[in-house]
Symmetry: C2
């Protein structure tokens, strides 16, 4: 089934211990769409400026991502600069230039209205809610958020969480959202806010999915997928969005949502996240093969499974 | 096969968000021995003071731990006080009274010399080395260490690492020992110092075992075991030693060391660590049943395994 991704497209300036790049294509919608494109049909809604060229758009088109929802606005594309020189697990933001992203009002093309799966990337919770309410055919909605909205738009975020089936956030965001230092307790509190499932991403330690009692009929036991111990993480940017793309993309490809499908989706999330960090920007996500993805899935299995 | 544990016996004063206890039986040898006792015959070498009573010793004897290697010295037993009020993942030490532990010189009873497995708890690396060199029948040696020795007795520690087959340390210790911020790179450097395998404990995220090329004939792919998402961690003290006890105890119980045995050992390490933190001190480790351990092993499997 097809999945619609709403989020940001950006040009990133990134410094890591492995090097430095300027103005590479990034943004949550970009990483998500490329990662999900290996599993299902992807449609993207985002805004770009006049500096976004056909070459940039072709990065997505080559992966058969439907880009008709990319709005071209006067001005410059969203730019972000950050570094991971001291800590590969957390970006230190150097600058944020919102540019055309500041006034982003997602407009869903009529051709996208039949999307069965929806991913609400990290934008203002009110925009997330508006998109979700507009999309009538949606069977399952995944969502992301961040500390900025948890602190600055909490009321709107809490409203939005009622419309999200699966929330994907990291450890720090889950603890902040719940006001809890214990992760399992935080998970319980977040699930009480609305989502049927909560994926907490632990960076290099993998991710855990927690379920609300009765959700999807899959039982309430959590499930954990690993991350690959990668010796040289070149660039962690987009790892979380790539994880979400692998997770949601695999779910959308299966149609039926059961416990086994969700477990595999969590593994595919980790797989796509592990590819994303091997190169700067979206480079690695642009030209993967099914064989490479399968082989890495198998590695994840060997890393965690008893005989 | 039998396992000999050398380490500390202590009285602990512990404060956590769940409460506070005074002078409860603790120490690396105590947690290790109790955890390992569910898998194999355990012998313990440690030192205690005059305040260590028959009742204290009976905690171990009830678990059939051979306590003939506990030396009773004039003076007081090692005391440690610490709290986890702000961070359950890291103890803040309130006080350390070494007492009889300060002059600890491990003496191995003749009856223990045929032990096939050896665990060198967190004591001065030179004492660890001396014990290992004295034990001729040992087939496999596990060892622990800490930041204090990595910084303060590095030369001696590096010597000791050549005598240790499997080193068990946490993320921070591995990074400090290797001088590396990437965990997989740190693992490679530590393995180059001598051990055939390195278990890195990630706290609530589980543990990963890394192998030196060719070690144990098990291949060089790492393996990762989870930790259980426990809503209320009552007291994290001793979790690492309990992990080591489950890990080494299971290895000793199997005799043959192959990849499957090592993988299961890592799971049993997590299982015993997860029990340890459910109650203050060693309470939970004193009266487990085989059924409880099996059930939790199964939970760990369900938490991580695809169908």
């Amino acid at each position: 089934m097809s999945i619609l991704a709403v989020g940001s497209i950006a040009f990133d300036c990134i410094a890591t211990p492995s090097g430095r790049v300027e103005n590479v294509l990034g943004g949550s919608a970009t990483y998500f769409s490329l990662a999900a494109s290996y599993f299902t049909d992807v449609r993207v809604v985002a805004v770009v400026g006049e500096d976004f060229t056909a070459d940039h758009e072709n990065v997505m088109k080559k992966r058969r991502v439907d880009t008709r929802g990319i709005e071209h606005a006067p001005g410059k594309t969203f730019r972000w600069g950050g570094q991971y020189l001291e800590n590969l697990n957390e970006a230190k933001t150097d600058f944020t230039e919102l540019n055309v992203f500041e006034k982003f009002q997602p407009r869903i093309p009529a051709e996208f209205m039949d999307s069965e799966f929806l991913f609400l990337g990290n934008i203002h919770p009110s925009l997330q809610a508006a998109v979700r309410l507009e999309m009538n055919a949606v069977k399952l909605t995944g969502g992301d958020t961040m500390n900025f909205w948890i602190q600055g738009a909490r009321k709107e975020l809490v409203e939005t969480l009622r419309l999200v089936n699966i929330l994907l956030i990291n450890d720090g965001e889950a603890k902040m959202l719940a006001g809890e230092t214990s992760l399992p307790k935080a998970a319980k509190k977040v699930l009480a806010m609305g989502p049927q499932a909560l994926v907490i991403k632990h960076g290099e330690y993998g991710a855990t999915i927690f379920f609300r009692e009765g959700a999807f009929g899959v039982g309430s036991h959590p499930f954990r997928a690993p991350a690959l111990p990668i010796e040289e993480v070149k660039d962690p940017t987009g790892a979380g969005d790539s994880f979400a793309g692998g997770f949601m993309g695999y779910l959308a490809s299966q149609g039926d949502i059961n416990r086994e499908v969700i477990k595999r989706a969590l593994f595919y999330g980790g797989v796509m996240g592990s590819f994303a960090v091997e190169r700067f920007g979206t480079e690695r996500l642009q030209s993967l093969s099914k064989g490479e993805i399968d082989a890495r899935f198998q590695l994840f299995r060997e890393l965690t499974h008893l005989g």
